[in-house]
Amino acid sequence: MDLEYSAEEIAFRDEVRQFLAENLPLEIAAKVDAGGELEKQDMERWHAILNAKGWLAATWPVEYGGTGWSTVERHIFSEECALHNAPRLVPFGLSMLGPVLIKFGTEEQKREILPRILDGRDWWCQGFSEPGAGSDLASMTTRAVRDGDDYVVNGQKTWTTLGQYANKIFCLVRTGTGGKPQAGISFLNVDLDTPGVEMRPIKLIDGGHEVNEVFFTDARVPAANLVGEENAGWTIAKYLLTHERTNIAGIGFSLKDLERYRRMASAMTRDGRKLSEHPIHAAALAELEADLEALQISNLRMLANARDGAASPIDSSLLKLKGTQLRQDILALMRSARGPDAAFWDESPANTNSDLPPHADHVAPTYFNNRKLSIFGGSNESQRNIVAQTLFR
């Protein structure tokens, strides 16, 4: 048994570290570290820096402008990015649509769309969930009816993350009826400036604007925008949702949050002693550290399985479950450490000119916002169902 990375992998990690140290803008890293919201240009700037280096599309083959990295290299890269406070890359073009087109798209679609994802001309968002179709995605009802060279789309999508910055959306639409609900679904790309497409913001629990709803009213979309065969969308969606989940445990984010917590606890006093010496906080931290140590090994075991072609279908579900629970527990402890000052609230967390007293920060909004972790990306209940169905098959 050998728990260490190979010499090549360590050399790769050092290269990533050096690149991040030299190229990640300090002001962006500081915003990420403070837990503030990033602006669109921050995300675009980091996207362009990685693209210039050729390190943007970690999961794509080299021939399409990807890195060609192994699963272990991808893991090292994403962990180092989190540890250095790099912004999280918006996944919809890079990790979702890109791999889908590479597997299911026509040559023309690949040539046309992939370069525009890389150079940032297109910002994609996702149109899967609907008000009546969350965990039960196959019950979705947004309809696309073929009319000449177009589809006419009617319906509503929701929880469209960062849709306010996007110019394109990939959607699941219903093109067939009868049979199983999964059978009549197609995968369709839509320009957001198409007449009849309207995006409206959804305000979240922490006051932030992160998700949207998208309404389609007789929107005419060229049939050439279909990805894969008509009525084959479910297969594509399943591929998209299960593709490349090596980062699903969010290890880097948890490592970084624990580091922030330690920094915070050693700088704070609580009723006359350092918070880091408060026995209850110290015990809670120790347990979280044990959990995270184990989760890191679980993640590496899964990576090794994937590398060796021996991945289990429940690996990613278990990692998602534990990874999100752990991160939420860390954020709860940070919130708790802040004591009464956690209540101070500034509606625009990125605003550094705020009226907040200097000892108040964004731990409470961050905690509330990240309750989403166990809801999105396949709710934790859905993940438990996947594991249970495998166990009791």
Partner: protein, 354 residues
């Protein structure tokens, strides 16, 4: 043995519940609670007229209540309606003013014509009164205050701010008129302020106030526990309704046993919370007061957080939205744990008691 509340208390609860349900929709609450002045002056006047603030002190001081039970009855309805008016400041302020013999000021609070807030704790001091460092000095025959008070509930816009500070080897209580403070909304609604004092003029209303401050803090903790009980009750009802109504996979979510069991656990936590509050109310003023109040605040800190997290999760994305009232209940319940000592602070206090 009899766990029923008196007819008078039931009438008070009913009239409050009716008022909130008729006059205090969530839209009004959210509009008032998240932007200056962080409450609704109209609602405040109504609450004073309904006798809500009068229930906080006894008849000798212009009120008509003042028992822990009176306070619990009011705050449970406050929690059920998610009312974010600055009642905690009024409760603590009216009590401390009455106990300090400031009868006119206490009457003004009860009448709703003046608003009070208390400034006791400081950055890094959340529960231990003895660890505060603010000082009062006499300069030219006038008291001046020095130090930093944080997280003053209902502080923004308060007319009377009661401030704890060291003077002459004791902790005294000082009264300042409308001091300027750094004001912000709380993430769960309502106003909060920080007060940096560098020679703030104030009147000394009690030279040795430790005992009355501790007693008032415990009463305020009971109020927070009762508020949490009302909010938990409502949030569990909303979650139950949602699971009954929301269909996935061709049937209501309420038919999934895994989800039913989670509701059961939430109800169990609520029952425990109600019971420990009853215990603390009954022990108020007795030798067991500090222990039972610390137990209540600890237990309810845990229960409120768990119920909030589960309610959000069981609602799915809807539970994360601003538009859904449940998200604001969840925030309030989590943040109640941060007020006047959290679950960890009170567990620590309990562990240190004989």
């Amino acid at each position: 043995m009899d766990f029923s509340i008196s007819q008078d208390h039931q009438m008070l609860a009913d009239s409050l519940r009716r008022y909130f349900s008729d006059k205090y929709p969530i839209e009004l609450r959210n509009k008032a609670g998240y932007s200056a002045p962080f409450h609704s002056p109209e609602v405040w006047t109504d609450l004073a007229e309904l006798g809500v603030i009068g229930a906080f002190i006894d008849e000798d001081h212009g009120g008509f209540g003042g028992t822990a039970q009176d306070i619990a009855v009011v705050f449970e309805e406050v929690g059920r309606a998610l009312c974010c008016e600055p009642l905690l400041g009024a409760l603590m302020g009216a009590r401390l003013l009455a106990l300090s013999g400031q009868d006119q000021a206490a009457e003004d609070i009860v009448a709703g014509t003046a608003r009070a807030a208390v400034a006791i704790f400081e950055p890094g001091v959340v529960c231990n009164l003895g660890a505060i460092s603010a000082e009062a000095r006499q300069l030219g025959g006038e008291w001046r205050l020095f130090g930093h008070k944080n997280a003053i509930y209902g502080g923004p816009g308060a007319d009377l701010v009661l401030i704890a500070a060291h003077a002459g080897g004791k902790i005294g209580l000082f009264l300042a008129q409308s001091p300027d403070m750094q004001a912000a909304p709380m993430i769960d609604g309502g106003g909060i302020g920080d007060l940096v004092m560098d020679g703030l003029p104030a009147a000394c209303i009690c030279e040795d106030a430790s005992a009355m401050i501790e007693e008032t803090l415990d009463l305020a903790r009971i109020a927070l526990c009762a508020e949490a009980n009302g909010a938990m009750d409502r949030l569990i009802a909303m979650t139950t309704d949602y699971l009954k109504q929301r269909q996935q996979f061709g049937r209501p979510l309420a038919t999934f046993q895994a989800l039913q069991h989670r509701l059961v656990d939430m109800v169990m936590e609520l029952e425990q919370s109600k019971s420990i509050t009853i215990r603390a109310v009954a022990s108020f003023g007795s030798d067991d007061q500090a222990r039972h109040v610390a137990m209540a605040k600890n237990l309810i800190g845990r229960a409120g957080t768990k119920i909030s997290e589960e309610a959000i999760q069981l609602h799915g994305g809807i539970g994360m939205t601003w538009e859904y009232a449940g998200s604001h209940y969840a925030k309030r319940l989590v943040m109640i744990d941060h007020q006047l000592g959290d679950r960890h602070d009170h567990a620590g206090r309990l562990a240190a008691m004989d």
